[in-house]
């Protein structure tokens, strides 16, 4: 009885490894496709309510006339975020995971033909709100990014280390409400750089506008680098 159960557990671990291996394979295909077209892809992650969609709204306001943008919206069941993006006239594709806690590479591969890759500079994939699982599944991005908001608490980097290690950019959002929270910004920054030496941390307030220029500059720079890389071939 016990031996049988142990056997079962081992099986599960192996199946899990295969799932991750298969995902990585498809992610590499997606990544090569986007890179060849010179499209910079950002996999934007973070807790529900951290401000991912708001950050995208502000980004579109600032950059949509300058960069050709598209958005893939990952959501459990609804099209609420996609509707918010659609108002800005930026192409948006909805992926509903029907309860699934993260997007994966095959989901993105399936919708990719709906994108006009020849006329695109920046594709942002808003992942399902979750600090754990999305960090494990590449979707074909050039970079991962995470939005951490002040109300989530300064202990979150150490509690969810993987997502902060994996993210090329860490957006610390809602700094406008720092005075009302016990969030220790120095401690949080210190923990993030301990986990990820040299991490690029950008402090923003999506509602007040602080830091959005630095964020947009970073996107511009990555878009330019991706283009240059694609031209080199």
């Amino acid at each position: 009885m016990l031996a049988g159960r142990q056997g079962g557990i081992k099986m599960e671990v192996r199946v899990m490894k295969n799932v991750l291996g298969e995902n990585d394979r498809v992610a590499a295909e997606n990544q090569a496709m986007f890179a060849a077209k010179g499209v910079y892809v950002l996999n934007l992650m973070g807790s529900p309510g951290s401000g991912k969609t708001t950050l995208l709204e502000k980004t579109m306001q600032k950059l949509k006339d300058e960069l050709r943008m598209a958005v893939i919206e990952g959501d459990l069941f609804t099209t609420k975020d996609a509707e918010r993006i659609d108002r800005y006239g930026v192409p948006v594709i909805q992926i509903n995971t029907a309860g699934g806690c993260h997007l994966d590479a095959p989901m993105v591969q399936k919708v990719a033909p709906q994108l006009d890759l020849d006329h695109l500079d920046l594709l942002v994939v808003e992942n399902v709100g979750n600090l754990v699982c999305p960090a494990e599944f590449a979707v074909g991005e050039a970079d991962k990014g995470v939005v951490l908001s002040i109300t989530e608490g300064d202990d979150k980097p150490m509690k969810y280390p993987l997502i902060f290690k994996e993210s090329a950019v860490i957006v610390l959002n809602k700094i406008d409400i720092l005075p009302y929270c016990n969030f220790d910004r120095t401690a949080a920054r210190e923990d993030i750089t301990t986990l990820h030496p040299g991490a690029n941390i950008i402090e923003v307030s999506c509602t007040q506008g602080d830091g959005l220029d630095a964020w947009c500059d970073w996107l511009r720079q990555r878009v330019a680098e991706t283009k240059a890389q694609a031209q080199k071939g």
Binding site: L20, G100, C133, E136, Y160, P161, K165, T194, H196
Partner: protein
């Protein structure tokens, strides 16, 4: 770790327990920071007074040799 999908950061992780000889309060802090900075290292806990050092890491991303190197570089001896 997510129960829905079985994915989660503890999958494929290894937890190592070392006893390290010769920590000072400062060198323990320094080692903690250096270990955390390695790829795939998700958790580090050090008791400077008795040298017990716990490291959770993904062996696919960092080699045991690199972890040992953190102790070696500082002249610390670590037993597994």
């Amino acid at each position: 770790m997510c129960k829905e999908c079985g994915c989660g950061e503890t999958n494929g992780n290894t937890r190592l327990q070392f006893t390290v000889h010769g920590y000072t309060e400062d060198s323990a802090k320094e080692v903690e920071k250096a270990l955390f900075g390695l790829p795939g290292v998700l958790f580090v806990h050090i008791h400077a007074h008795d040298g017990s050092t716990t490291v959770d890491y993904q062996p696919g991303k960092t080699k045991l040799r690199d972890i040992m190197g953190v102790f070696d570089e500082r002249g610390l001896e670590a037993d597994l």
